[in-house]
C-alpha cells in the first residue's frame, strides 16, 4: 500500500473523518524526495510576467530554465508575440566560473536592438544567486543606454516556492505601474488582474465589461502591454483573479494610489456572475447595474439548457481536483456541482491556511483535502474515492489515464477557454467528452474498480489516516 510520508501527514485532511478541528499544514517547502508537482520561484515569476507580449523576457542562467518554458502556455496576444520566444543567456562553464555579467550585458543589448521591446525582464535563476552576478547593475546600465525599463526579477529557484516568484513578479510589475503613476483617473474603469488570456479568456472577460459600460484600463498580464500597465494606476478598481499571484500587486497599488481591489473568479456560472455583479455594485451606478443584469441573464439563459443536458449524463460522478492555486479550486468545486459532480478530492500547490479552511467549508463530508501532493498519494486517493474525473495539469494527466479516469486540463498550458459563461460551456463539453468516452470500458483499472468492494476502500482510507 502507498503510505503517506510521516512528514506529510499534516498536509492531508479528510472532512468529517477526524475529530478536533486541526488546520491543514501548508506553505511549507516540499519534502526532499517527495515527487512534488510544484516548480520553483522562477516558475512563479515566469507564469505571471509571461503574457506581456511586447516585453523581452531574458532568462539569465544555464539553458534549461528557459528551454522548458519556451512557448508552453496558451496565453494569446492580439499584437506582438515576443513572449512566445525563449531567450537565455545559456551560461557555460566559463561564465559560471568567471561570472556572467558581460554575457548578460551583451545579450540584453543585442536583443533590445533587434526586437525593440517596450521593456525587458531579466530573470535571475538559481545559479545567478550563487555566482553573484550583479544583475541589478547590468540592468541599470542597459536601461540607461537603451532607454527602456530593464527590470531584474529575482527568481532564484531555491529561494522559496512559487509564491515567492509571484511576489518577485509583482514587484517587477509595480516598477512599471509607478512609471505612469500620478495621472488623473478614469471614471467607471478597472484593471483586470490575474487573468492570463489563456485561449483568449481575457478578451471574453473584457467584452463583458465593455457591455457593462466599464472601461478596462489594463490587463495584467493577459494580452499584456507595457504601456497599458504604466496606465494602470488610473483605473478606479483592481479586479483580481488568481489572487494567489496578484493580490500582492493589488495591495501595493492600494497602498500607493488608494486603488481598491476585489477578488473574483471567472470560473463557473455563479462565480462569473458574482464577479461581474460585485464590480457593478462597487461603482454603484444604475446604468451599469442594469446592463450587468441584462448581460448575466442573457448569458445564463443562453448556456443553461446545454449545461442541463450534460448534467443529466454526469449526475452522480465523482471528481478529484489538483491545481496550482486554491482560488481556482473553490470555483471548480462549485462548477462541478452544477454538473451534479461531487468533489471527492481537492488540493492545490500553493494554498494558505484560510484557503483550506474555506475548502473544508464548501466540500462535502468525506472529501480529502491535500496540500502539495505527489503522484503516489494522488493515485492512492483516486483509487479509494473511485473518482471518474481528474482536473489538473499536464503532469497529472497520465496519472488520471493510468487510473482509468477522465481528465480535464485546467492549467496554464491549456488551449481551451474555460473562463466566463462561454468557458463554462467549454468546460462542460470537455468534461462530458472525456467521461462519456467509450474507451474506458477497456481500461483495466476501471474494470478493477468496478468490482472493488466499497467497504474495502473505506478501510484503506481509515488505515491511511491512522498514524
Amino acid at each position: 500500500m502507498i503510505e503517506i510520508l510521516k512528514d506529510r501527514k499534516k498536509q492531508v485532511f479528510q472532512k468529517g473523518a477526524e475529530t478536533g478541528d486541526r488546520g491543514i499544514v501548508c506553505e511549507k517547502a516540499s519534502l526532499a524526495g517527495s515527487v512534488s508537482q510544484r516548480a520553483c520561484v522562477f516558475c512563479g515569476s515566469r507564469v505571471v510576467l509571461y503574457p506581456i507580449a511586447d516585453a523581452l523576457h531574458l532568462v539569465h542562467g544555464p539553458v534549461g530554465c528557459a528551454a522548458y518554458t519556451w512557448d508552453i502556455r496558451g496565453s494569446l496576444s492580439s499584437g506582438p508575440e515576443l513572449h512566445r520566444l525563449s531567450f537565455s543567456t545559456d551560461l557555460r562553464e566559463k561564465e559560471v566560473i568567471f561570472g556572467g555579467e558581460k554575457k548578460l550585458y551583451a545579450a540584453l543589448t543585442e536583443l533590445i536592438k533587434a526586437y525593440a521591446p517596450k521593456a525587458a525582464f531579466v530573470y535571475a535563476t538559481c545559479i545567478i544567486g550563487l555566482i553573484g552576478d550583479d544583475v541589478q547593475a547590468v540592468c541599470k546600465k542597459v536601461q540607461a543606454e537603451q532607454g527602456i525599463p530593464v527590470i531584474p526579477v529575482h527568481s532564484e529557484g531555491f529561494r522559496g516556492t512559487k509564491k515567492d516568484g509571484y511576489k518577485a513578479a509583482c514587484e517587477a510589475l509595480f516598477r512599471l505601474v509607478v512609471e505612469g503613476g500620478g495621472q488623473p483617473g478614469f471614471p467607471l474603469s478597472i484593471n483586470i488582474l490575474g487573468d492570463f488570456n489563456l485561449a483568449g479568456e481575457t478578451w471574453m472577460i473584457k467584452e463583458y465589461y465593455r457591455q457593462m459600460g466599464i472601461k478596462v484600463v489594463s490587463c495584467i498580464t493577459g494580452d499584456g502591454r507595457v504601456d497599458e500597465i504604466r496606465e494602470s494606476s488610473r483605473a478606479g478598481l483592481n479586479v483580481v483573479q488568481c489572487s494567489g499571484s496578484m493580490t500582492q500587486l493589488a495591495k501595493m497599488m492600494e497602498e500607493t494610489y488608494g486603488l481598491p481591489f476585489k477578488r473574483v473568479s471567472y470560473f463557473g456560472i455563479e462565480d462569473t456572475a458574482e464577479a461581474l455583479y460585485s464590480v457593478a455594485r462597487h461603482f454603484d451606478d444604475l446604468q451599469v447595474m442594469r446592463k450587468t443584469e441584462e448581460l448575466v441573464r442573457s448569458e445564463v439563459n443562453r448556456i443553461y439548457p446545454e449545461v442541463q443536458h450534460y448534467r443529466k449524463a454526469l449526475e452522480g460522478k465523482k471528481a478529484a481536483i489538483y491545481v496550482g492555486g486554491s482560488f481556482k479550486a473553490f470555483s471548480l468545486v462549485k462548477a462541478l456541482r452544477h454538473l451534479g459532480i461531487q468533489t471527492a478530492i481537492v488540493g492545490s500547490q500553493t494554498g494558505n491556511p484560510e484557503d483550506y479552511e474555506y475548502l473544508k467549508e464548501i466540500c462535502d463530508a468525506g472529501t480529502i483535502i491535500v496540500d502539495d501532493t505527489n503522484p503516489l498519494e494522488l493515485s492512492r486517493f483516486m483509487m479509494e474515492k473511485d473518482v471518474d474525473l481528474l482536473i489538473g495539469g499536464v503532469k497529472e494527466r497520465p496519472i488520471a489515464y493510468k487510473m482509468g479516469a477522465a481528465f480535464c486540463d485546467h492549467n496554464h498550458e491549456r488551449k481551451t477557454a474555460l473562463a466566463g459563461f462561454e468557458g463554462m460551456l467549454n468546460f462542460c463539453r470537455e468534461v462530458y467528452a472525456s467521461i462519456m468516452s467509450p474507451v474506458w470500458q477497456f481500461s483495466p483499472a476501471r474494470q478493477r474498480r468496478a468490482t472493488m468492494e466499497q467497504t474495502f476502500s473505506e478501510e484503506i482510507t481509515k488505515a491511511m489516516f491512522s498514524t
Partner: protein, 462 residues
C-alpha cells in the same frame, strides 16, 4: 558528385552565432537526459539533486512527450542547502524515496546548482551507506550532470557510464552482446531487441525504457512502471563479449562502452545510428560477423521492400531540400539517410557543442550535390534566420521546429524528441530497415501532400 574525403570542397565554416543569447534553444539540459536513461533501468527512480524547479520542469517536459507518469524526485534545495551544501537534503530524499517507492536503484543526477556549490555527492552517498549499513539498500548511482557543460545527450551518456561504472562486474566472458543504442524512441528499442532476438543473440540493452516509458494501461497504479534493464543484467555487462554503441561522435569519448572495454576487456564497436540502408547494413553486417549467424530472412525481405519503395518514391524526393536538427548523432544519421535517397540536407543543426559535428555529418554524405550548411551550438531562431533563403522543401526533427515549418510553409516530418504536439512520439520507429521504411513513406507522403495542397486542381490520383 562530391566525395566526403575532400572536405575542403565544402564551404562549411560553422556559422557564428548571430546572437550572444540563445534564442529558442535546440537542446535541453543534462539532468533530463540522465533521468530518461535512469528510467531505463528496472526499478530505478531518478533523483535530481538541486532545487525543485528543475525536476518539475523536466518531468513536465518528458511527460508531454511520452504521455506516461514519470516520477522524478528532487532533493529540493532551500537557501540553506545552497549555502551549506545539500548533503542533508540528499539523505532525506533517499530515505523518503526508499519508504515510498522501495526502488531497486536510485539514479542521482546533479543540477547546475549543486555542481556549482561543489557538493560532494559521492561522499554523501558513502556516508549514507555507512549510516545505514545494516539495511538492504537500493543501488545508488550518481551521474555528474552540470548543464553548463553539456546538453541532455551528454547527461544521458553520463548516466549510462555512471551506471556501468557502479554496477558492472568482471569475470569469465560469456557470449552475450551489450547494445547501447543512445537516446532513441521506445519503439526503436523494441525493434532493436527484436532484431537481436531474431538473430538469436543473447543481449543486454542499456537503457531499456521501451516498457517503462511506453507501457500498457494499468489495473492498479504502479509506483515505478514495470520494465527496464535489470540490475543483474547490468552487472553482467562486464562479462559480455562485446558492446555496440550507436553514435559516431562517441568514438574516443569516455562512454559506458569504452569503460567496459578498458576495465573488463569487453571489445567495443561504435556505429552510426542505423537509419537508412547504408547504416543499417553496417549494423546487420556487424551482427552477422560477430555472431557468425546469418541475417534472418525477415530482415532481408524488409531490406528488399525498402529498396523497392525507394524506387517507387524516388522522383518525389530527388533534389528536395531539408532542414534537420536535433542531437548531433541523430542529425548525422538523418543526413546520411537523406543523402542516400537524394534529398539535400541543406541545413544540419544542433544546439550541442561537440566540436565534431561537422566531421560526423560529412562522413555520412556520399551523394550530396552541394554544400550543406552544418551548424553546431545553434538555436531555432538562428536556423530560421539562416534558412529563409535556402529554398527549403521540408523540415525534419522534433516538434520544436514546427514554427519554422509554419513560417516557411513547408511540411514538418516529426522525428526524435520531443514530440509535444502529436500523440505517439514514443512509438515513432526510426531505426532498421523497417524504421527507415516508415520514415521514407512519411517523407514522401508529406512532400506529395504539400504539393497537393498547393495545387489548384486537387488531384486525387498521384
Amino acid at each position: 558528385m562530391i566525395k566526403t574525403e575532400t572536405k575542403e570542397e565544402f564551404n562549411l565554416e560553422i556559422t557564428s552565432r548571430n546572437f550572444t543569447s540563445t534564442r529558442n534553444a535546440c537542446k535541453l539540459c543534462a539532468p533530463l537526459g540522465a533521468s530518461i536513461a535512469f528510467r531505463g533501468i528496472e526499478g530505478c527512480i531518478p533523483l535530481i539533486h538541486g532545487s525543485q524547479g528543475c525536476s518539475t520542469y523536466i518531468r513536465r517536459y518528458v511527460i508531454s512527450h511520452f504521455k506516461e507518469p514519470i516520477d522524478i524526485a528532487s532533493s529540493n534545495f532551500s537557501e540553506q542547502s545552497a549555502i551549506f551544501g545539500g548533503g542533508d537534503n540528499l539523505k532525506t530524499a533517499i530515505d523518503n524515496l526508499r519508504r515510498q517507492y522501495q526502488p531497486a536503484a536510485i539514479g542521482i543526477s546533479t543540477t547546475c546548482l549543486s555542481e556549482t556549490i561543489g557538493d560532494d555527492v559521492e561522499l554523501y552517498i558513502d556516508q549514507y551507506r555507512k549510516s545505514n549499513k545494516d539495511e538492504s539498500l537500493p543501488v545508488i548511482i550518481h551521474a555528474s550532470t552540470p548543464s553548463y557543460r553539456g546538453t541532455h545527450l551528454e547527461g544521458f551518456q553520463e548516466a549510462l557510464r555512471a551506471t556501468v561504472e557502479t554496477l558492472a562486474r568482471g569475470g569469465p566472458h560469456t557470449d552475450r552482446l551489450n547494445l547501447i543504442p543512445g537516446f532513441l524512441s521506445a519503439e526503436d528499442l523494441r525493434h532493436l531487441k527484436e532484431i537481436l532476438s531474431d538473430f538469436g543473440i543473447g543481449h543486454t540493452l542499456l537503457p531499456d525504457y521501451s516498457e517503462t516509458l511506453d507501457g500498457e494501461s494499468w489495473e492498479e497504479y504502479q509506483k515505478l512502471s514495470a520494465g527496464g534493464t535489470t540490475i543483474e543484467a547490468i552487472r553482467a555487462m562486464g562479462r559480455a563479449q562485446a558492446t555496440i554503441q550507436f553514435g559516431k561522435s562517441l568514438k574516443g569519448l569516455n562512454t559506458a562502452a569504452t569503460f567496459l572495454e578498458g576495465k573488463f576487456g569487453v571489445q567495443s564497436l561504435t556505429l552510426g545510428i542505423p537509419v537508412g540502408i547504408r547504416e543499417t547494413d553496417l549494423f546487420f553486417k556487424a551482427l552477422k560477423e560477430w555472431s557468425g549467424l546469418e541475417i534472418p530472412q525477415k530482415y532481408q525481405q524488409e531490406r528488399g521492400r525498402l529498396v523497392d519503395a525507394y524506387i517507387d518514391g524516388h522522383k518525389y524526393v530527388y533534389g528536395k531540400r531539408a532542414i534537420i536538427y536535433g542531437e548531433a548523432d541523430f542529425v548525422a544519421a538523418l543526413a546520411s539517410w537523406l543523402d542516400e535517397i537524394g534529398i539535400v540536407p541543406a541545413l544540419c543543426a544542433t544546439g550541442a557543442c561537440t566540436g565534431k559535428f561537422k566531421e560526423t555529418v560529412l562522413s555520412g554524405l556520399k551523394n550530396c550535390p552541394e554544400e550543406p550548411l552544418i551548424c553546431e551550438d545553434t538555436d531555432f531562431a538562428d536556423m530560421l534566420d539562416t534558412c529563409r533563403t535556402m529554398g527549403i522543401d521540408m523540415v525534419m526533427g522534433s516538434s520544436k521546429g514546427y514554427f519554422i515549418s509554419r513560417k516557411l510553409g513547408v511540411p514538418l516530418v516529426r522525428v526524435g524528441f520531443p514530440i509535444h504536439d502529436r500523440i505517439g512520439g514514443q512509438r515513432i520507429l526510426h531505426v532498421g530497415y523497417r524504421g527507415t521504411q516508415q520514415l521514407f513513406d512519411r517523407v514522401v507522403n508529406a512532400l506529395i501532400e504539400a504539393g497537393q495542397e498547393r495545387s489548384a486542381v486537387g488531384y486525387s490520383y498521384i
